[in-house]
Symmetry: C2
Subunit: 436 residues, 2 copies
Amino acid sequence: MKEIKVGILGLGTIGTGVVKVFQKNSELIQQRLGARLTLTKIADLDIITDRGIEIDPELLTTKAEEVLDHPDIEIVIELIGGYEPARSFVLRAIANGKHVITANKALLALHGDEIYAAAEAKGVEVQFEAAVAGGIPVISSIKENLCANHIRNVQGILNGTCNYILTRMTDAEENFDDVLKEAQEQGYAESDPTFDIEGVDTAHKLAILIALCFGTRVDFNDIYTEGITGISAVDIQFARQFGYKIKLLAIGKMGYGKVEARVHPTMIPVSHPLADVDGVYNAVRLVGDFVGPVTLHGQGAGMEATASAVMGDAVAVARNLLAGAPVRTPSLGYPLAQRKDLPVRPMDELIGQYYLRFAIPDQPGVLAQLAGVLGTYDISISSMIQPERQVGGAVPIVMMTHEAREADIRSAFAEIDAGGLVREKSHLIRIESDLF
Amino acid sequence: MKEIKVGILGLGTIGTGVVKVFQKNSELIQQRLGARLTLTKIADLDIITDRGIEIDPELLTTKAEEVLDHPDIEIVIELIGGYEPARSFVLRAIANGKHVITANKALLALHGDEIYAAAEAKGVEVQFEAAVAGGIPVISSIKENLCANHIRNVQGILNGTCNYILTRMTDAEENFDDVLKEAQEQGYAESDPTFDIEGVDTAHKLAILIALCFGTRVDFNDIYTEGITGISAVDIQFARQFGYKIKLLAIGKMGYGKVEARVHPTMIPVSHPLADVDGVYNAVRLVGDFVGPVTLHGQGAGMEATASAVMGDAVAVARNLLAGAPVRTPSLGYPLAQRKDLPVRPMDELIGQYYLRFAIPDQPGVLAQLAGVLGTYDISISSMIQPERQVGGAVPIVMMTHEAREADIRSAFAEIDAGGLVREKSHLIRIESDLF
């Protein structure tokens, strides 16, 4: 029976999960593949800490080059995360003619071009199903099954930490800070949660999805990225009154020669296919011109689900090798030469509905003045909630707009905030009602 | 630029959809594939009827052999449907060394073995993503991405006609017969809807899913198949009162060396991931030992969504051919020699919760007698609804059981129905609360 040797870089959470798949399901994989997939070497700087599994000490090394330069290893799985040394290691593996599997969305979002080009030049595959939405087969669905479609819209809930926090804020009516603390205690949020709660992790994943779906490059810095730290319990309550939930969405759209690429808290109707994606689950919804809307839902993170995706990639590469076809599908599903370089639509050009929240002093006439300013900028209101008056203090007033231009909202806010009409900076949440 | 020639058998709805993809998205496919996929010949007995698209008359033929024996066609797409002549044509295409793509679930459910074995012997691929859940990438997700998982549970809403009817019965509170008529008028149900509403179509698809997920053969006749014709508006209303919806589910489970393979109306909690799959949409939920639960949702039928899946397969085969690997993945995701032949668990052994409906005469003491019989058979009741009394007539009484054995329910029903306790045959609906 043929054997294909695999090496792992990085024995963190996902690395440990991958080792568990090898230990538990090797026989199953061998039956399906008709060949042995053998874990040959695992490199990590720390080979002392107990990961809760038994690993043959012969497999372990602290030297990445024992994986990267191993003469018999054909598939290198990079699970170190971050930019360096992951980038250098991946490039060296490619230079050595090894196929690479990675779950590293940060690396691909920023250095994907360099890596895909190196792989294309060398004639090896780079696969990264685990980099977006963990165990959910999103990437290969786009690259393979849906490849006969023009995809013009993709939306995703791609960060389990944010979704857990927003779900808890919604269900338990707690504040952001309390829920974050609770999430950290339960292991759903990192001790430094910045990348997650500021939307950066979601934006990394969106950059990858846009390249796959729309066939265009997007500069990571051009993705509008707004996290969930500005969402208050009061926004969630008002959203509910209007029939909406608040989710951190990654949104990609293509039209009129430009790409929308944005990550921000978004109000979606409770009937929206992503509205019930709760807790640490992820989901991606996309629309193709033939397939129509497709929604894929599952565990977007975690040791075992992510390991499932990594091993799916490993078997895919092994199938290519066994069939005598080392490179079957380009990294992005199309040759790099075919890639477009469409501009990203500036946020000012965005047209949509908005939820606006103002803190106004409890005085007669303020609402009229507010409405007057909004009217000046062509912003019309579809509904409004003004809770009972609190004598003397500031009261929140919330409005849902009809379709408006983001530039106009910004201008109106500038005038309102500068004009002393409000007691706090005015606040907006974008709405996606549109089911395409 | 390389060219791969494709022939189509059958210019019905899906065939027309595939021609539309060729006409509309050939350039996109060429960019992604790096080669031309050319529609070379289309065979149908009727090449006269207007399908609403322009087709070069040179492409059309009434003779299947002009596709099957065409020296340059490498990929044959079978879209005739049914058993014959589809079976003979597919086998002849394989014998001629052509790769086959089919959307024909009936053919694969009954003659899959013969076809997969012929393909394996000849060294060609048979792909059938469109055969289950239309455009949703279910089959390749199981065969490829999730292949490192033991899958022990799969549930699906796989028939748009049934789901449309049940959704309308739920939302509009109409009767089965009225909704069926409406569905026929709107083109959501065939003029002879038997295969759909009796669950046969769903069972065909379940047979395929079980072979893929569990690696075992299932004789189509061993699949318990119950359609939706016995569901009444009153069941749907009671289900709602208990917090459930009624869906026609395909259910496959594996455990203790046996397979559960059943298609029947099923009550699922409104919070179940499949409860909101409405109208003509399909969805599949499965659980892998590493990936956990994954739910895939989209259009399960229709010209365009199904054509998307067919073309996804065509590109996949073309990628193999271009990479020099005519056969990359076996038809079922594993070599036929690896297939198990596990027995199907008899329905009598089923253990689960049940919804029971009895039509009892409006007399004192009948409920006590009914409960007595159920108790004799170890069936305990978790809740009950008895609507207001209708003097003199029969009244429905409904009960939800705790876990019970189906054999015991059957025995209790036999005794109850024979004992003159009820005015109509007693009625059950199985419940799946279990989210695994």
